[in-house]
């Protein structure tokens, strides 16, 4: 999708779907600036090359002020979306930019057949927790000292409604609960904040 196609304006903020290599430095700069976890360029490429349709950028007067980076794939017989990074510049927070960004990603995930969406957030990140709570995420688990700074995380989950009434039973019965550590391939913690 080209930048112009994906644009929409609200309060002077333009939202753009990931459009290619020229967006990569913008995403990297923003994440580097706002999040403490160090990501190598390969991590960014892993996401934006495999799932460009799930990454969005928010611009204000030509400046990139927010971004969301996601993935989706099979996870224990479930097709699952995962929000890896969500960042909005400090001075632009509280204007609904993060909600708009993440909503766009979730919509694409839903249209792509995802059954659920997950992410991790620091238990102290009240803003992010409230945002995801409003979108219908529940706090499924608490992960003890998940981040290297010793802070616990919540695993947040959003389950999409299912058309078939008996679907939940069959899905749950086939899930493999034996290996806790294999719970997602995100072995290295991510911070997500907005």
């Amino acid at each position: 999708m080209s930048a112009s196609e994906g644009m929409s304006a609200s309060e002077g903020i333009e939202y753009v779907s990931y459009g290619g290599e020229h967006h990569l430095p913008l995403i990297m700069k923003l994440v580097d600036q706002e999040l403490s976890e160090p990501y190598s360029i390969f991590t960014y490429r892993y996401f934006v090359y495999l799932w460009p349709q799930l990454s969005f950028l928010a611009f204000h007067k030509g400046q990139c002020v927010g971004t969301v980076v996601c993935k989706m794939g099979d996870h224990r017989h479930t097709f699952r979306g995962y929000i890896a990074m969500l960042v909005v510049l400090n001075t632009y927070r509280g204007r609904g930019i993060a909600t708009e960004l993440v909503t766009r990603s979730i919509k694409v995930m839903m249209e792509s057949g995802c059954e659920e969406v997950t992410l991790e957030a620091e238990v102290t990140n009240k803003g992010a927790l409230a945002l995801y709570g409003r979108l219908g995420f529940i706090r499924a688990k608490r992960l003890f000292r998940y981040y290297l700074n010793g802070v616990d995380a919540f695993r947040l989950k959003l389950l999409f409604p299912r058309p078939e009434p008996n679907y939940s039973e069959s899905r749950i019965a086939s899930e493999d609960y034996t290996n806790e550590l294999a719970d997602g391939d995100n072995l290295v913690p991510y911070k997500s904040c907005h």
Partner: protein, 725 residues
């Protein structure tokens, strides 16, 4: 991304490595070289197996955030030593030397506490160069003995935690990264420490003696040069040495089998706490006389009592061995916080030592659950687990079958019954052991694990039923008779159900402690707690009713339960207490439901899903194993959809809860913990009663009135607060 040029290349088969049956070794250097020419900096070839973990494992060389090598001061311990980073003695001025040694002791305490709190051993305690090269300090008796006891203590703690280990999340603690945790002669550390302590206490005595008596002790060489400061330094060193000695004793006493060392451990805990007090008292003296210039800023962050930076530490030395994650700089706890940590640890260990090792499972479970409320750290939890389960027995004393018989209220004689050899009964014992272990883990992990083991408990019930039926015929068709076997089977089955509901309840309750529920979800959570509680009360009551013989009364007496238990027409207090909880849960559920129905607050609304999805996600582990049968989102909606304040005031559950709680006080008069719990329940009921009346009277909620639910009186049962904003 490697293009056609590479594709046309012939890859030479390497003759130097012999081929196997299915493998051929080939030299791909030239192919690789060509591919490299095609790639620009930062580009990568994405293969099918290139996953997120692979992407995140990439390190950017020379980036200080990722490249652990770049931030090192020295390349090796030897280089650090050659550069004078850890001199022995620390100074030829003996006063400065002793000051520096005390700083090392204090900094090691800060390191140790940071390690216990989740830091890696390599970057904390073993950042001490003296510890890394133990042989170098042999000429310095004080430093040498101190380092040895530190290492031995670390080793003891690592082995306690690794023996008890039940989850991967806290694995970092026991990673020793090939560090030398055990040194030759470490077993003699206490005698070495004792010898040094003796010498210093003689030095202390000598400097305190009046002039006339000084001659007798003249042969005692002072600790350092400045006689005015001698007493202060002797005292500061002594309390630090004695703390280490007693702390080591505490740890070894706690490891004695069958809880035999608990009494002695308690004495050493008292001694430890008193030495920690003395250490805190020495702070002023040390700060006043320290050699370095210190500012008052950030005094809280200082890792020594004196406020000076210690000599002989480099946290970057082990950074290359601190796999698996790239090492980050660890913020050490300040010295005072470290002392506070040890005080807390010792208090927690004291709670363990004060436990009566009650052979009744119910009490053991309650003890662990109550102990978790003080939020013990890993080390204390590991020692509790060691105490609870040893050699497959409760406290290393009670075989699990005996524990189960008691829990199922079976008469004393059944404990030798052959049925304990049945494979499924043995498995049941194993399940109980793993439950005890899980209850000792951190609550976040514990909840997840409890959710999963519910399945095992459901399965074992079915297996037991089959096994019993196979051995003794169809037991469900027979009424209770003299047949002991039948009695055992029936009671054990009921107990398994009761225990399963107990686990489910703990799973739900822990959700509050872990802040997993949002206020809009409280209604469904209390509904679930309510239905689980009803089943639990039902099973507990049934179990007690089944044991209507003299054997049961005897067992009761032994358990020192309430006196009126013998009166069978009365509901037992244990069941009444559950009834009390049922009323509170029901009251909260209905109040929340009415608020939702009438005032449209605390609703689960979202753009992507409905309340049903939240219900499925929160309770999927319970639903999966039909706990309880027929509990579904539909039944939750049916119960709550028509709730109105007008009908609530007719049947006020909170008043019932208050009434029962008051009545129960007499029954639990000898149990201060239960009395405190009853008080909390009464407070919750009282507050909610008032709030309920207020909201009902107002009819419609004024926009300025805000109602919120707080856990101000009880960790699991919320109190409604009505406030004007």
């Amino acid at each position: 991304m490697a293009d056609k040029r590479g594709g046309d290349m012939k890859v030479p088969i390497s003759p130097s490595i012999p081929s196997g049956n299915d493998t051929v070794w080939a030299d791909v250097s030239s192919l690789l070289r060509l591919a490299c020419n095609d790639l620009r900096s930062d580009e990568l070839i994405s293969g099918e197996n290139f996953n997120l973990f692979a992407a995140m494992s990439a390190l950017e060389i020379m980036d200080p955030k990722m490249d652990s090598g770049i931030v090192s001061t020295y390349y090796s311990v030897d280089e650090a030593i050659d550069n004078g980073a850890a001199p022995v003695p620390l100074s030829f001025d003996r006063t400065i030397d002793i000051q520096c040694v005390i700083d090392i002791m204090d900094h090691l305490l800060a390191c140790e506490a940071t390690w216990h709190k989740g830091g890696s051993l390599a970057q904390t305690v073993f950042s001490c160069i003296y510890l890394l090269r133990p042989e170098r300090t042999s000429s310095h008796a004080l430093l040498h003995s101190f380092c040895r006891v530190i290492r031995t203590t670390c080793n003891a703690v690592v082995s306690a935690v690794s023996d008890a280990r039940t989850n991967e999340e806290e694995d970092l603690f026991i990673m020793a990264y090939g560090l030398q945790l055990k040194g030759d002669g470490d077993e003699k550390c206490l005698s070495m420490l004792h010898a040094v302590e003796e010498t210093i206490s003689r030095q202390l005595k000598a400097c305190k003696a009046p002039l006339s008596k000084r001659r007798v002790v003249e042969d005692v060489e002072p600790l350092q040069n400045n006689l005015d400061l001698e007493e202060g330094y002797c005292k500061a060193v002594l309390c630090r040495l004695r703390f280490r000695k007693h702390f080591y004793h505490v740890l070894t006493c706690l490891r004695r089998p069958q809880g035999k060392g608990l009494e002695l451990a308690k004495k050493h805990i008292v001694a430890c706490l008193s030495e920690l007090d003395s250490m805190l008292k020495s702070e002023e003296f040390l700060r006043h006389n320290c050699a370095c210039e210190i500012s008052r800023d950030g005094i809280e962050d200082k890792t020594t009592a004196s406020g000076c930076q210690p000599v002989g530490f480099d946290s970057t030395l082990n950074s290359r061995s601190a796999a698996p994650t790239p090492p980050r700089s660890i913020k050490l706890l300040g010295w005072k916080k470290a002392v506070n940590y040890f005080q807390k640890l010792l208090h927690d260990l004291d709670i363990i030592c004060s436990y009566s090792l009650d052979p009744v499972l119910e009490y053991a479970l309650r003890f662990v659950v109550d102990f978790q409320k003080v939020q013990p750290d890993l080390v204390a939890r590991a020692y509790l687990q060691f105490l609870l389960v040893q050699d497959g027995k409760l406290y290393g004393r009670e075989p699990m079958f005996v524990v189960i018989c008691k829990a199922a209220l079976l008469p004393e004689g059944t404990k030798n019954h052959n049925i304990q050899k049945n494979e499924t009964v043995v498995q049941l014992g194993q399940l109980l052991i793993s439950l005890l272990r899980v209850l000792c883990t951190n609550t976040a992990w514990q909840r997840r694990k409890l959710g999963k083991i519910l399945q095992d408990w459901r399965i074992i019930y079915v297996q037991l039923e089959l096994a019993f039926r196979k051995e003794y015929g169809d037991i469900t068709c027979t009424s209770i008779d003299q047949n002991v076997c039948l009695k055992i089977c029936k009671n054990i089955l009921i107990w398994v159900e009761e225990q399963t509901y107990w686990i489910a309840l703990r799973f739900l309750m822990l959700g509050f402690e872990l802040e997993l529920y949002s206020p809009s979800e409280y209604c469904m959570v209390y509904w679930y707690i309510y239905v689980i509680l009803i089943k639990l009360a039902e099973k507990t009551h049934l179990k007690m009713m089944l044991n209507n013989d003299s054997g049961r009364r005897k067992a009761k007496k032994k358990r020192d339960l309430v006196k009126d238990m013998g009166k069978d027409f009365q509901i037992p207090p244990a069941v009444l207490l559950l009834q009390c909880y049922i009323y509170v849960a029901e009251g909260l559920m209905m109040m929340l439901a009415s608020l939702r129905n009438e005032h449209k607050v605390f609703l689960c609304l979202g753009p992507f899903n409905s309340e049903q999805e939240r219900f499925i996600q929160h309770f999927e582990l319970l639903q999966k194993v039909c706990l309880p049968d027929h509990a579904s989102y539909l039944s939750f909606r049916e119960t709550t959809a028509r709730a109105r304040f007008s009908t609530l005031s007719m049947h006020n559950c909170f008043k019932d809860a208050q009434r029962i709680a008051k009545e129960l006080r007499a029954n639990f008069a000898n149990d201060p913990d239960r009395i405190a719990e009853l008080r909390r329940i009464e407070q919750v009921a009282e507050h909610n009663c008032v709030a309920l009346n207020l909201v009902s009277r107002l009819g419609t909620l004024e926009p300025s009135l805000k109602i919120s639910f707080e856990f101000s009186h009880h960790p699991h049962f919320a109190s409604a607060a009505v406030k004007r904003s």
